[in-house]
Amino acid sequence: MSAPAVPDERVAAVSPVRRLLVRPELGALIGAVVVFVFFALLSSTFRSADGVANWLDPASTLGIMAVAVALLMIGGEFDLSAGVLTGTTGLAVTILATRFGLNVWLAVLLSLVLALAVGLANGYVVTRTKLPSFIVTLGMFLVLQGLNLGVTKLLTGNVLVGGLVGRSGFDSAHLVFASSVVLGGTYFKVSIVWWLVLTVLATLVLLRTRFGNWVFAVGGDANAARKVGVPATRTSMALFATTATAAWLVGTITALRNTSAQADAGVGDELTFIVAAVIGGCLLTGGFGSAVGASLGALIFGMTSVGIVYAGWDADWYKLFLGAMLLLAVFANQFVRRYAERRRRS
């Protein structure tokens, strides 16, 4: 080949620092380290094995959602119904198992079918009408919120459905979704395993598969992608289904853990997922972001919510802290994008 050695030098000419700087998860990584060091200095419990297990727990359920929501956001869409859907799926499992006497596994399976139906409905309406997903899923959010309350009250006359313990299949389902793993004498929730597996899986899909390529392309410029034959509609549908599946997983985990479900569960969480994804480097405009970043965003949330308690502060400070984190992350993102644009010009 006539190619000189020039091209490789050119690639190397982009310094490693620059390349690191434009990684989406850099900000979240720094944030996570800072938050960890901060609370570890304040509280010895925080840095003990039990403490770690404790803050990994909320990080895990949030992380499962944040990763899925990050995929969706990279694909250029939002899902505001994801939070309340965790409530819906948990309620479905509990109600089907306790009021209809189904095997817990069957209830879990039917709950998954329900979640997929909701996700695909979101995807269908968004891709079909070309309305902003923000509005469409806001509608779905309200529908589900109403359904959760209405159906639960209608069937049970209460806003809390309990009594999962002892139902057929409960013990095995509990083992899979809600048990703990002992590691060096410390109990870690099994949801942490789910979270880690999903993060790895999502990263693999994003960076190593054709589908992942399509996600970036559809989020970056859907029209351009469609013109060269990327199945943009199917990609979006799959992403909405993924978020719904994650919501089902979290809903199931929560229901089996608590052995009950609450009619207003998950309401308000949808924004937390988006915030975690954004802290993790996702742009609101799509086409950019990372699953690892979203997981780190969730980790920051988990550490903060537990760390504040360990530090002996009032939990009310939690939101303030997170607000500041979010703003910082967005500033950092903005800076990175400017930087990238500056390089583009010339």
């Binding site: 020039v6 190593r208 054709r210 392309a217 351009a224 950019f288 644009e341 583009r344 010339s346």
Partner: protein, 537 residues
């Protein structure tokens, strides 16, 4: 005058041996017959140029060919067989690739990912990245560009590099014909040379190219044959590109003889000093720029795309905040970085990126013209539509916008005509100092002459004009005084009469050692001194 009913002498009648042949193609839009019997025949390995005025139907023709529009009548033969591509993708898969001006590339993906987007190199759904990168590198090498790294994010490539990537994509589908719609409009002189080298490489391999441009000199350089469209009809097919005279081509395009000259101009009657720019600079963009514009004077900024001219005029206009220096109008300092202050002082800027900067697609043409000067047609806050319409219509006639109906939605106008609409907006605005950034980009030969006349007339009325153009003859012909800009600095200033095209080119090129996107490749900004050791050989 030729009429329909070909073939002209050098096309073979049956179209046998032609890669693509088109006959009697018709495309009707609401209210406009964009194509009204187009004939075209493209041979393998040739560069076939499409010429025609703004709105002649060139873009529509290639959209019909590539399957983006369905024709209403006519026959398209591709490699001897009648075809009707249902989508651009179908055409691409059959080997007919189209490169539009708004490139279909995704910034967030790498070069290689863009090349293979939609037909990824993968096994069981997993990307074979190494394979994709290697194949992309091979395609880029074939295009003479081993310097574009396949793993580089596309967003970091400038316009010329992106076009190369588009071509690599076309080749990845094994394209036999690549259609390019005004590819040179966004490139500087060096980049156009690069493009031409690539085109020659392609044609040497037997790939045919259909090339659209309003610059006749380019057609002479790169073209083999020319087909001229006028009002949706082929008025001449398969003319030899090199030997057909300019006068003949222009006559075919416009149906009249256009005097393609600037004419003499009474020396600049220097009157008052209108604008004074002193030591203006912006970190990383340009430095130490000083000049003046008098009323009735036309000052030209010559230089390459990316040399900092746009940044300079935008800073003067207040759209960017200077880091050093001052802008003074009529002896009064303007508040830095304030467009409002600039506008109130009588400045107007017709921007380079006319498409992205403010056309209201669904609004009628006249409203797009008058939007910046509504106050002038208003009484007590209410706009008088008749006056608004009349003023807009006058400007549109002046610029020869077609179709002339000012009530059409501006979206339905051809690319060049949309450009004219934005120009008209600033012309009716009545500024005291008008900044025009690349005013003739995408504008056809006939309308260009009109535009020149108009700019001259404004100057004669006492308006100061600051003109940015990459076409050196244009700057030299229009301006009284010329500033040559290179790498963010004014490297020379002289009366236009004292400069020749060669002088300016020398000045401009002396300052640069690599073309813009190669520079970006190395991560340097336009004003950072170059490290010559990194220069490609």
């Amino acid at each position: 005058m030729r009429t329909r009913g070909f073939p002209p002498p050098d096309t073979d009648p049956a179209g046998a041996g032609a890669l693509l042949s088109v006959d009697g193609l018709v495309k009707q839009f609401p209210g406009v017959r964009a194509l009204d019997g187009v004939t075209l025949s493209v041979r393998p390995g040739e560069v076939h140029c499409l010429l025609g005025q703004n709105g002649a139907g060139k873009s529509t023709l290639i959209k019909v060919l590539s399957g983006a529009h369905t024709p209403d009548a006519g026959m398209i033969r591709w490699r001897g067989r009648p075809v009707a591509f249902p989508t651009p993708l179908a055409a691409l898969r059959a080997g007919l690739a189209t490169i539009y001006q708004e490139l279909d590339l995704v910034d967030g993906l790498t070069v290689a990912e863009n090349v293979f987007l939609g037909h990824e190199r993968s096994r069981f759904g997993f990307s074979l990245r190494t394979k994709g990168n290697a194949e992309a590198a091979a395609l880029l090498r074939r295009l003479g560009h081993p310097d574009i790294a396949p793993g580089r994010p596309l967003g970091t490539l400038p316009a010329a590099g992106r076009q190369i990537v588009s071509m690599a994509r076309a080749l990845s589908y094994d394209a036999r014909l690549i259609v390019m719609d005004e590819p040179s409009a966004v490139l500087d002189a060096g980049e156009v040379d690069t493009l031409f080298r690539v085109v020659r490489q392609l044609t040497a391999d037997g790939v045919a190219v259909v090339y659209i441009s309003h610059r006749l000199d380019e057609i002479r350089q790169i073209g083999d044959r020319v087909t001229v469209l006028k009002d949706g009809r082929t008025v001449a097919a398969g003319l030899p590109a090199r030997t057909t005279t300019t006068a003949e081509l222009v006559r075919l395009m416009t149906g009249r003889t256009v005097e393609y000259a600037f004419g003499e101009r009474a020396g600049p009657a220097r009157r008052r000093e209108l604008l004074r720019v002193n030591g203006l600079g912006r970190a990383g963009e340009f430095a130490d720029v000083s000049f003046t514009v008098h009323s009735g004077e036309i000052v030209g900024l010559a230089g390459l795309v990316g040399s900092g001219r746009t940044e300079i005029v935008e800073t003067v206009y207040g759209a960017r905040r200077p880091t050093t220096g001052t802008v003074t109008v009529d002896g009064r300092r303007l508040r830095p970085g304030s467009v409002r202050a600039a506008v109130r002082a009588g400045l107007g800027l017709c921007p380079e990126e006319r498409k992205s900067q403010g056309l209201f697609g669904e609004d009628p043409v006249y409203r797009n013209v008058s939007v910046a000067s509504l106050a002038r047609y208003a009484t007590a806050g209410f706009v008088a539509p008749a006056r608004e319409l009349a003023a807009a219509a006058r400007a549109l006639t002046d610029l020869d916008v077609r179709p002339g109906d000012p009530r059409r939605p501006v979206r339905t106008l051809s690319g060049g005509n949309q450009q004219k609409v934005v120009l008209a907006r600033w012309l009716v605005r009545g500024c005291r100092l008008l900044v025009l950034d690349e005013p003739t980009r995408g504008v056809d030969v006939g309308a260009r002459t009109e535009l020149y006349r108009l700019i001259r007339r404004l100057a004669a009325d006492g308006v100061g004009v600051l003109l940015v153009s990459s076409e050196i003859p244009e700057v030299l012909g229009l301006a009284d005084r010329v500033l040559v800009v290179a790498d963010g600095r004014v490297v020379h200033e002289a009366p236009a009469a004292d400069l020749t095209e060669a002088d300016v080119l020398d000045l401009v090129l002396a300052e640069r050692d690599t073309s813009g996107w190669q520079r970006a490749n190395q991560g340097h900004s336009a004003v950072v001194p170059h490290d010559r050791s990194e220069e490609p050989t």
